[in-house]
């Protein structure tokens, strides 16, 4: 039971973190059709910026400044890199952001070294929130989840309850018409891109302290993020939330399950046969936990190729 509660919480919070990053990606895609490969690099930049600033201005200010900085990087990326190549099509934009993510990773290696840096949860925040059975549950994990939820609520209210939100949604649905009504659509695009980047930066600044902060964190997350949006359906916020939670929960539960396919097959009298085959059939689920999201993605592609919540093509 304890295992169940801890896994549930861990999975939920990892899922929320995934959502915090992939929300920006999905928003930008829905709006501009750009699949931003560098989005996860913004996440990494946020973590590294907060790590570098933390000793100077303290943890909270570091988080704030990192968020703003990464948002600025996002604005520059949109204005000076993506806009000039828009005319070549979306695949070209994807390639360009891929190149940018490559450069960002190499720059991070250049400045901070090709190894994980010692970015830690500040002393004041590393205490246990409550006990589950014998083990303490860290407060900081809850904080990550709370930040993600707060962000989701804020974005949701901003998009649905304010004038700015109306203009943004209009620019997403009918960019030409919104422009004809006198709204500066390119600026709206730039702002959304910047906000998406800032959110990824915020996620990085907060979560980097808890998970590892290394030059590989971007690509690891990028792949997971893409799995999220394929499962959820690109452009759908609800889909991204659902897929993030599914992936978070399935990864966190599978880590502790020591069952292999052979053991399952043994119930129907095929255990010896499966053990004879070996390979995939005798691997324990726990060692496969890293591959479950991909398997899920292939499954979704088979059944609903447009994603769980995506619009049918």
């Amino acid at each position: 039971m304890d295992y169940f509660i801890v896994s549930l919480l861990n999975g939920l919070i990892y899922g929320l973190l995934l959502f915090m990053v992939s929300a920006g990606l999905t928003l930008v895609f829905g709006m501009m059709g750009i699949l931003n490969f560098a989005h996860a690099s913004f996440y990494m930049l946020g973590a590294y910026a907060a790590y570098a600033l933390q000793p100077v201005i303290g943890f909270w200010w570091a988080v704030v400044v990192a968020t703003v900085l990464v948002g600025g990087v996002g604005v520059v990326t949109e204005r000076y890199f993506l806009r000039p190549v828009h005319k070549y099509g979306h695949a070209h934009e994807l390639l360009l952001t891929f190149g940018l993510s490559f450069i960002i990773a190499e720059l991070v290696k250049l400045f901070f070294g090709n190894y994980p840096v010692n970015y830690r949860v500040p002393q004041a925040l590393s205490f246990s929130a409550f006990h589950v059975g014998p083990s303490a549950y860290p407060f900081y994990r809850l904080l990550i989840g709370l930040v993600a939820i707060a962000m989701f609520v804020l974005i949701y209210l901003l998009l649905t309850r304010t004038r700015v939100g109306i203009i943004v949604r209009a620019a997403i649905r009918r960019p030409a018409m919104a422009g004809a009504l006198g709204h500066n659509v390119p600026v709206v695009f730039m702002a959304v891109f910047g906000v998406g980047a800032a959110l990824a930066g915020l996620a990085g600044a907060i979560a980097g302290a808890f998970y590892t902060t290394s030059p590989n964190m971007a690509i690891e997350l990028a792949v997971m993020m893409f799995v999220v949006v394929v499962i959820g359906g690109l452009g759908s916020l609800e889909g991204a939330l659902l897929a993030s939670l599914i992936i978070g929960l399935s990864t966190s539960f599978s880590v502790g399950v020591d069952v292999s396919l052979a053991q399952v097959l043994a119930y129907v009298g095929m255990g010896d046969w499966a053990r004879g085959i070996g390979g995939l059939l005798t691997l324990k689920l726990s060692s496969l936990s890293g591959t479950i999201p991909y398997a899920l993605m292939l499954l979704v592609l088979l059944i609903r190729p447009y994603g769980l919540m995506g619009a049918k093509e």
Binding site: P84, K87, G89, L96, F102, F111, V229, G290, Y294
Partner: protein, 431 residues
């Protein structure tokens, strides 16, 4: 034009055949790597440039070919139906089969979805491989031995070079011929307009899967050649790095031209070989080059050559030499400025430097670079790269003006505004 093209091709082949006579051992090894990278890039570009499907997971098929070949080399021992020179066939078959399965999934979607699915398939293999030690040898990988065949020992790398060269030339020829087959023309159609292909009655999913499998088949051959060359395979081969390499190389070379990717891959792996001892930031330079190509030269090196040749035909060398000289000067300045800045920063932020400043007592010791020592706190140190870059950009602007003026003075040409570098790449893929 075609005859001249053939002549150049023949000369290149002769040069490649004669090369081992004058090259050192390590250069021959680099040559093998270049050949393999070229074939891989061409196989990748068949999918990406011709059929407009952007794959981020091509290392999966390269790796599959490599591992299958290592297993086959172990099992056959160079005897029976598959002596060493025919081993790449194993890679081809494996690449084809794996590609058929993966392609069937991946081509269910087009455009950016396709890119993400291939990325995930590659990562799936990478995550799975270390756990399947029976197939992939776990963390340590697998190793094997090249067996002698047909009186050739394959003990030294000259013989491996010729084996690789023969296979790469054969495969490039086959790839070229494939583009002339009906399926090859369908591949172009897939890039240009999937919807119309569907209206014409083609089964787009099947056609895409077939093109995908052909591409992965040749990737498998490249992987097999790699396995024969290094006599081993490790699961790290499935890493995204290799997929990224082939993508960067192909686009830098010019993915829409048949030989562009081969040229790009050969150049990039040659530079990588040359500078790997000099700098730790080679990947950064490669990334910068890639982004610059994507921003300003979307047709890559091959497109640049094409544009220059066209401009020369229109205006003649006399009108253009000034612009060429300016472009060369600007490039030299920009390269010098960037290299200086990157290397300086790299040394300033390295662990060695921090250690040095702690033991030396001096917080900011001088940085030795390019035969001189530079004080990190001096303005001059930082002014130099800034000046180089500024001068480079200024020259670049002047060169562009000369270029435009020369072209404008020339007689207005028929159809092709190729000098602006515009044109569609794989834009037709998104639907």
């Amino acid at each position: 034009m075609n005859r001249r093209f053939l002549l150049v091709g023949l000369l290149v082949v002769i040069a490649l055949v004669a090369a081992p006579l004058v090259m050192s051992q390590s250069l021959i090894n680099a040559g093998i790597q270049m050949l393999i990278a070229s074939l891989f890039a061409c196989a990748f570009s068949l999918l990406c440039g011709q059929a407009g499907m952007l794959s981020f997971g091509h290392s999966a098929f390269f790796g599959a070919g490599a591992f299958a070949t290592v297993h086959a080399m172990d099992a056959m021992g160079g005897a029976g139906l598959l002596p060493t020179p025919f081993m790449p066939l194993v890679g081809a078959v494996t690449g084809l089969l794996v590609g058929l399965v993966a392609g069937w999934f991946a081509t269910k979607r087009t455009g950016v979805y396709f890119a993400m699915i291939t990325l995930a398939i590659g990562e799936l293999l990478y995550a799975l491989a270390p756990h399947l030690s029976g197939w992939f040898g776990g963390e340590a990988g697998l190793s094997t031995m090249r067996m002698p065949a047909f009186g050739l020992s394959f003990a030294d790398n000259v013989q491996v070079y010729y084996l690789t060269l023969a296979w790469v030339l054969l495969c490039l020829g086959l790839l070229y011929l494939f583009m002339r087959t009906p399926l090859g023309r369908v591949a172009l159609g897939l890039r240009e307009n999937t919807h119309r292909m569907r209206f014409f009655g083609y089964n787009v999913h099947v056609a895409s899967t077939l093109v995908f499998a052909i591409s992965t088949m040749f990737s498998g051959v490249a992987g097999a050649l790699q396995a024969i060359n290094i006599e081993s395979a490790n699961y790290v081969i499935f890493n995204l790095d290799l997929s990224a390499q082939v993508l960067l190389n192909s686009y830098i070379g010019g993915v829409t031209y048949f030989l562009g990717p081969a040229v790009g891959a050969a150049l990039m792996s040659f530079f990588g070989y040359v500078v790997s001892d000099l700098t730790t930031s080679w990947l950064l330079y490669q990334g910068l080059l890639f982004v610059l190509v994507m921003l300003f030269m979307p047709r890559g090196i091959a497109g640049l050559v094409h544009a220059v040749a066209q401009a020369l035909r229109r205006c003649g060398f006399a009108r253009l030499w000034r612009a060429f000289a300016l472009y060369l000067g600007a490039t030299a300045l920009l390269v010098a400025g960037t290299t200086f800045l990157v290397e300086l920063l790299q040394r300033l932020f390295s662990q060695d430097y921090r250690a040095l400043s702690q033991i030396g007592g001096n917080a900011w010791p001088d940085i030795p670079l390019f035969g001189a020592s530079w004080a990190p706190l001096s303005v001059l140190t930082w002014l130099l790269p800034v000046l180089l870059l500024t001068a480079g950009i200024w020259l670049l602007a002047r060169a562009a003006r000369h270029w435009r003026r020369a072209l404008a003075l020339a007689a207005p040409d028929d159809d092709s505004p190729a000098t602006t570098g515009g044109g569609r790449l794989v834009s037709g893929a998104s639907s």
